[in-house]
């Protein structure tokens, strides 16, 4: 094995030498004063040996004379020789897994250099629930992410940027609109009616991640996470298994995302950082559409075919729609014009981003101040996302024992919004995918009206929907060391979100007919959190370390909304509700509270055996009186096998750890705050007078949804950590699943909240990291992660249908989000009609013949990152992939209307492959009526493979040599270019295999009216001084 390493050492050097030479001219030209001062007066050979911490020679160590390209590597015994070295040379000695050393040669000719192991990776500090831990002592499954690689991906929110970065965490962007909600699933989904999103904790504050949006944007929702500037984040930890999440008890079932924002350091000189970038983005591909003549041809065929099928319709060749104008028709097909509306809607969008921060500290104070502004236009007009944010983190030592501090994030997010999803009124893509042959925006120089969907030009000129989110996330803490090892900490946190939305639909738009509609919605969400912890840590002798933690939290969330609307405006110059002739208003208030107590004990024997146990008790106001409290225990153990005597000498193996954990976590998010209570509403008015009526049935037995999870993990590292891998298998099983159970309608109610579903998630995750090459000039690292999750509904009495046209069915024995379709077997070459599979063999195609054919779950997903630094250049290439997931191309269903939707929709070019005459072999049937067999809702023809491999980002950076940047007074200057989504490999025939029209968790995977994620290019610079 040693030889193996050695060979590779030499091999790398030989291989890279030409490259080194070719790019080294910049460095040869560094005869700066300070370097020159080390040069020896007399030149001569230097010999030496490099030893490891045990005194053994290390082969393959790279030794380079600083400031030159001259370098050698050690032989099998760790020895090296440099034939010609300048006087006072400094040697840079580097080897993977050890700290790089600089050695001053002085007048010596023989050197012995002992390298110190770099425990960087193993001793890396990881933020865990209510504390931090060194990686080597972790028992749970936690992934730590440094967001600096991804923070330039223009998505608005940091969670969307993490796609493909975390093993076992599936992130789907849903849309190309920046700042919109993403679908994020940590180890699958556990619930049907409660939330499946993870818990987000920012500097100890449990923040709201449910959109406060109330205006309709076609099923889409904004992301509250986009209020946070990704550049303010220092690290992101994703807690996945029960051991890691158990301290978050009731909130942990869907994983926990811990965000730690940047802070200063004690005794740090003020450091100013500036990051500025500007960029452009556009759609990589658009739909292939029929021209006006092609459209007309298909419509005529449809007309004639339906006439043949149903003679009573009196549709014949003679009265086909596209017949000569002289015969009363719309002109022959070849006379039709083609209006390009996509070109009017899509644009090259501008992006800009500026971050400025100051960090530093004195003996007792450390601070971080940051300000940022970002603007991202969507690739479709008029959508725009802007965020201005401000941050102050401050920590002050009061004395040796007491420290206080604050964290503050204040941001204002402004959005120009539009309906880029489902829906008839104001739907951008529906308006853009309109009939190509008519409705030019102008007729005799005057803008004309709409048909079915809005006229696109009118829509774009008059869209007036925007929202302003004012967000504060802050925390003040005090911590004191009562006796050595015993720390008390108390903190108060606040998450406040004022969300201001307004719409004005003037009378040229469908939604504003006939005389204008204005709405205003003011929503306020505030979450107040108080938390105390008492932690004790003690080492006895040198082998026993134990820790104890107890604590409590109290949280209170209040949501308020005031809504007003006005209709009937004198003209389009009046846009405020006060000018409307009829107005309406409403007000909502809702509150929930949570009280929690938790305790954790851990024990570490000689860094070899680690065990811990924790329990959390949560009381929630949402549940029935006797069912408010839930108890969530977890245990975990790890064995660092590498620390055992028998592995001590296996030097190739640098770490081996086996971990196991089991625990129970809960979920209550997403259910109504008063879900357990029987309620009457006051909104049942009649003839303008108030009325009351039953609203929902109570269920005093409503209780916590609970997920038990077993996790077994193996951590491996080889060659001093040069190659490391983490492997986890898990089994999650959710019981008491919160479900709106169907009641017989004869009771007067249709559902009530109950604990009725069971869902399992099983899977594995693999993360591999390797340093492929490392010399003092060149470093190439690769990290790969892949995961598989198998989701199954284990218990559900009645199947539930979701999505437009019931495309999604939740059914026992199948995964959540399964597509429920009619399987198209073929198109009969004789008749041109679709042949569907007659599942129940009754000779008819009815809903009973729908079947589940796939789901949105991939068989395998993950990401691959390569980092290459060479001298002053850095390159980051990041791919994400998903394999085996399905997507329903609903755009294509509408676009292949076979002529039936002539009046409202364009026809996709794919429809031209229709059957025309006996003998034609095709999968596109002859055009005929709507919703008869051939163009039936839910045909499997539009259910497609959504697998993809995406070059998510490619970043190339160049850091100016220090000597140059120093000259202009800068500490560091880096120029970079980021390309986003530059390449996509997929069989999907829509625009983007990640599109989803709805942000509703039960309606994922239906692609309708959604713009794709754009291809982007940004140019930027980082400056520190």
């Amino acid at each position: 094995m040693k030889n193996y390493v050695h060979m590779h050492g030499n091999y790398w050097k030989a291989w890279m030498l030409p490259l080194l030479l070719s790019v080294s001219s910049g460095h040869a030209a560094i005869p700066a004063k300070e370097v020159r001062s080390y040069w020896r007066a007399t030149e001569g050979p230097i010999k030496g040996q490099v030893l490891d911490e045990t005194g053994k020679g290390i082969p393959g160590v790279n030794i380079q004379i600083k400031g030159t390209i001259q370098g050698v590597s050690t032989n099998a015994n760790g020895e090296f020789e440099i034939s010609q070295a300048p006087d006072r040379a400094r040697l840079v000695v580097s080897f993977i897994g050890y700290k790089t050393q600089e050695v001053s040669v002085g007048n010596q000719t023989r050197l012995t250099i002992q390298l110190v192991p770099d425990q960087n990776q193993l001793s890396e500090v990881v933020v865990v629930g209510y504390g931090t831990q060194e990686r080597k002592n972790l028992i749970g499954s936690i992934t730590k992410i440094d967001p600096s690689d991804t923070k330039n991906i223009p998505t608005g929110s940091f969670d969307a940027q993490l796609q493909g970065k975390i093993p076992g965490v599936q992130i789907s962007s849903n849309t190309g609109v920046p700042g919109e909600a993403v679908n994020i699933r940590v180890r699958g989904a556990t619930s049907i009616n409660a939330d499946n999103d993870p818990l987000y904790v920012v500097d100890g504050v449990f923040i709201n991640n449910n959109s406060l949006q109330s205006v309709s944007t076609g099923g889409k929702a904004t992301s509250p996470i986009a209020d946070i500037n990704p550049s303010d984040i220092e690290s992101i930890e994703i807690l996945k298994d029960a051991e890691a999440t158990a301290l978050y008890g009731s909130r942990g079932a869907n994983g926990v995302i811990l965000i730690t924002t940047k802070r200063g350091n004690f005794e740090q000189k003020p450091k100013v950082s500036l990051n500025a970038s500007t960029g452009w983005s556009k759609a990589a591909r658009l739909w292939d559409l029929t021209t006006g003549p092609e459209h007309a041809q298909l419509v005529n065929e449809w007309w004639i075919n339906t006439g043949k099928d149903t003679p009573s319709l009196n549709r014949t060749v003679a009265n086909r729609p596209f017949r000569p104008v002289s015969e009363g028709g719309r002109g022959l097909p070849e006379e039709q014009q083609t209006y390009d509306r996509l070109g009017e809607l899509f644009r090259t969008a501008r992006l800009q981003n500026y971050d400025l921060s100051l960090a530093g500290g004195t003996t007792n104070t450390k601070y971080y101040i940051g300000g940022s502004y970002t603007q991202q236009e969507a690739i479709i007009k008029p959508i725009n996302f802007e965020r201005a944010s401000f941050k102050i983190n401050l920590d002050q030592k009061v004395n040796d024992k007491v420290q206080v501090g604050v964290s503050n994030i204040l941001s204002r997010t402004f959005r120009n919004q539009a309906r880029a999803g489902d829906g008839p009124q104001g739907g951008l893509l529906q308006a853009a995918l309109h009939t190509p042959t008519y409705l030019s925006p102008y007729e005799n120089g005057v803008l004309v009206g709409r048909a079915g969907f809005d006229n696109l030009t009118l829509l774009l000129n008059n869209y007036d929907v925007h929202s302003i989110s004012l967000r504060y996330i802050g925390n003040v803490y005090g911590e004191a060391e009562i006796v050595p090892g015993l720390k008390f900490r108390t903190s108060f946190g606040l998450d406040y979100n004022g969300y201001d939305e307004s719409e004005y639909w003037n009378n040229l738009l469908i939604a504003g007919s006939p005389s204008g509609l204005a709405t205003s919605s003011q929503t306020q969400f505030s979450s107040v959190l108080n938390e105390q912890t008492l932690a004790y840590r003690k080492t006895l002798g040198n082998k026993h370390t134990f820790g104890l933690l107890v604590g409590n939290t109290l949280q209170s969330d209040v949501l308020k909304r005031t809504y007003a609307e006005g209709r009937g405006f004198a003209n389009n110059n009046f846009t405020q509700i006060s000018s409307a002739s009829t107005t309406a208003a409403s007000q909502n208030w809702s509150k929930s509270t949570l009280a929690s107590f938790f305790a954790k004990a851990d024990y570490n024997f000689a860094g070899r055996y680690l065990i811990n146990a924790s329990i959390r008790a949560d009381g929630s106001s949402r549940f029935g009186n006797e069912r408010k409290w839930g108890y969530f225990p977890a245990v975990g153990a790890a064995w660092r096998i590498k620390q055992e005597e028998f592995l001590k000498d296996v030097t190739v193996l640098s770490d081996l750890k086996l971990r196991a954990s089991y625990g129970i976590t809960g979920n209550q998010n997403g259910i109504g705050n008063f879900a357990a209570q029987g309620l009457w509403t006051g909104g049942a008015s009649y003839q303008g007078s108030p009325g009351i009526a039953p609203q929902q049935l109570g269920n005093p037995d409503l209780q916590w949804e609970k997920t038990r999870q077993l996790n077994v993990g193996l951590d491996l590292a080889f060659f001093n950590g040069r190659l490391s891998a983490e492997f986890n298998v898990y089994n999650k099983y959710t019981t008491n699943g919160l479900l709106q159970l169907t009641l017989p309608a004869t009771t007067g109610f249709s559902t009530y909240w109950s604990n009725a579903a069971e869902i399992s998630n099983k899977g594995f995750e693999l993360g591999i990291q390797s340093v492929n090459l490392q010399t003092s000039q060149l470093k190439w690292t690769t990290s790969l992660n892949l995961a598989r999750n198998v989701n199954t509904i284990e218990k559900l009495e009645t199947p539930l249908r979701y999505g437009s046209r019931d495309l999604i069915l939740q059914q026992q024995g199948h995964p959540l989000y399964s597509f429920w379709v009619y399987r198209q077997l073929s198109v009969d070459p004789q008749t041109g009609n679709v042949v569907y599979e007659d599942v129940n063999k009754d000779g008819k195609i009815t809903t009973d013949d729908r079947q589940i054919l796939g789901s949105i779950w991939p068989k395998l997903f993950g990401g691959l990152t390569n980092n290459l630094t060479y001298g002053s250049f850095d390159l980051n290439v990041f791919f994400s992939f998903s394999y085996g997931n399905k997507i329903y191309n609903h755009n294509k269903f509408f676009g292949e209307g076979g002529g039936a939707r002539d009046a409202a929709r364009i026809i996709f070019a794919s429809n031209l492959a229709r059957w025309q005459k006996p003998g034609d072999i095709t999968d596109v049937p002859r055009p005929d009526g709507v919703n008869v067999n051939n163009y039936r809702d839910g045909g499997s023809r539009w259910l497609e493979d959504g697998s993809f491999l995406r070059l998510r980002s490619l970043t190339l950076g160049y850091t100016l040599p220090k000597t140059w940047s120093k000259k202009v007074g800068l500490d560091n200057l880096r120029l970079y270019a980021v390309g986003t989504n530059l390449w996509l490999l997929t069989k999907y025939t829509g625009l983007d295999p990640e599109s989803s029209a709805s942000s509703d968790q039960n309606q994922q995977g239906i692609d309708l009216g959604t713009p794709p994620q754009p291809v982007g290019l940004q140019l930027g610079l980082n400056v520190t001084l």
Partner: protein, 344 residues
């Protein structure tokens, strides 16, 4: 240190968890305290009428499932749920049908709550006369609901007690059509005895009961009784007469009393009237002189003349032209039931 512990202890225990976790809504009230005095009884009865007016019942859909089957209605949208009515081939899982079914039983449950609770209210302000009126109105609405159920589904489960817990009213078998009609008559009789013989355009009175009884007996082919009850209204010429022209029945024109559609739902403009569903399943009916009634959904198209002002002088001629269309009968039912006034 001592102080710190004191703070901790106080925060932990002085906050009474029980009251901290006891959060009551402000928009709604607990179903334990609903009909307790005159005001709550009065508002609960309005709640019953409001259910009758809901979108899935008389608001829109209950009528739509009738007239969609007419031969003068065309559906050009892409959703099969509506097309099923046009094709006269309605599947059991049709969402509009279940929506109507649910809405009617919601109405019944509201009426049942009034019937079960009003008698026990001890508030002296709730006089016997008022109690009788409220109970009578609830009986009338329940009668109308079972009458509608019987006409559409035949025999149905007869629920006469309110649902208070998820276990209530479960497992009640379907009654026969005759039993269902018997329930209708029983409720009508109760309503007739409790309600005053006044004229009210918005709420049920004894006269409204007569109107529905006339209709009920028509369905029972009891021509004598049908005539008897119809005659009671026809004879009341000071309050009731036929409106002319017929189309004003559907109009919402100033000077003309609102039609029963708008009485139950919101005010709707003539030229485009949302008639069914909400949100993604909204339908719009457009009635223009010289054209058949057309229905528009989000995926269908309004021709240019609708949007460019060609409808400036609409002349609604009819909403349902054939004897087989249930819309006509429904309209007549409502006209009779709610005793539309003349135009003056």
């Amino acid at each position: 240190m001592k102080a710190t512990f004191l703070i901790l202890v106080s925060i932990l225990f002085l906050t009474s968890c029980q009251s901290f976790l006891d959060v009551k809504p402000k928009e709604s009230i607990s179903d334990a305290v609903t009909i307790t005095d005159k005001t709550s009884a009065e508002t609960a009865v309005r709640g019953v009428y409001s259910a009758l007016a809901s979108g899935n019942y008389y608001g829109t859909n209950f009528q739509a499932i009738g007239y969609l089957s007419g031969d003068n209605v065309e559906w050009t949208g892409s959703q099969s749920i509506v097309q099923e009515f046009i094709n006269h081939k309605v599947n059991a899982d049709n969402g509009m049908i279940s929506g109507v079914w649910i809405a009617i039983y919601q109405t019944i449950n509201r009426a049942n709550n009034v019937l079960a609770k009003v008698n026990d209210v001890a508030d002296p302000a709730l006089t016997t006369a008022l109690k009788n009126q409220y109970l009578g109105e609830a009986y009338f609405v329940r009668a109308l609901a079972y009458f509608d159920l019987a006409r559409v589904w035949g025999g149905v489960p007869l629920i006469t007690k309110p649902t208070v817990t998820p276990a209530d009213n479960r497992g009640i078998a379907r009654s026969s059509t005759a039993e269902t009609y018997a329930q209708v008559l029983k409720d009508l009789d109760a309503a007739e005895s409790l309600l005053p013989a006044t004229t009210d355009r918005y709420r049920a009175t004894q006269k409204t009961v007569w109107a529905l009884k006339a209709r009920y007996y028509l369905y029972q082919k009891d021509w004598v009784k049908a005539e008897e009850y119809a005659s009671k209204l026809i004879g009341d010429a000071t309050n009731y007469s036929l409106i002319k022209p017929y189309r004003t029945f559907f109009a919402d024109t100033p000077g003309v009393r609102r039609n029963p559609f708008s009485r139950f739902s919101t005010t709707v403009p003539l030229k485009s009237t949302p008639i069914a569903g909400s949100g993604s399943r909204k339908l719009t009916v457009v009635r223009v002189s010289g054209h058949p009634i057309r229905l528009w959904s989000r995926y269908s198209t309004m021709p240019a003349w609708v949007e460019t002002g060609a409808y400036s002088s609409p002349k609604t001629t009819k909403i349902a032209g054939t004897a087989t269309s249930t819309t006509a009968t429904l309209a007549q039912t409502l006209r009779t039931c709610f005793a539309l006034p003349n135009n003056t």
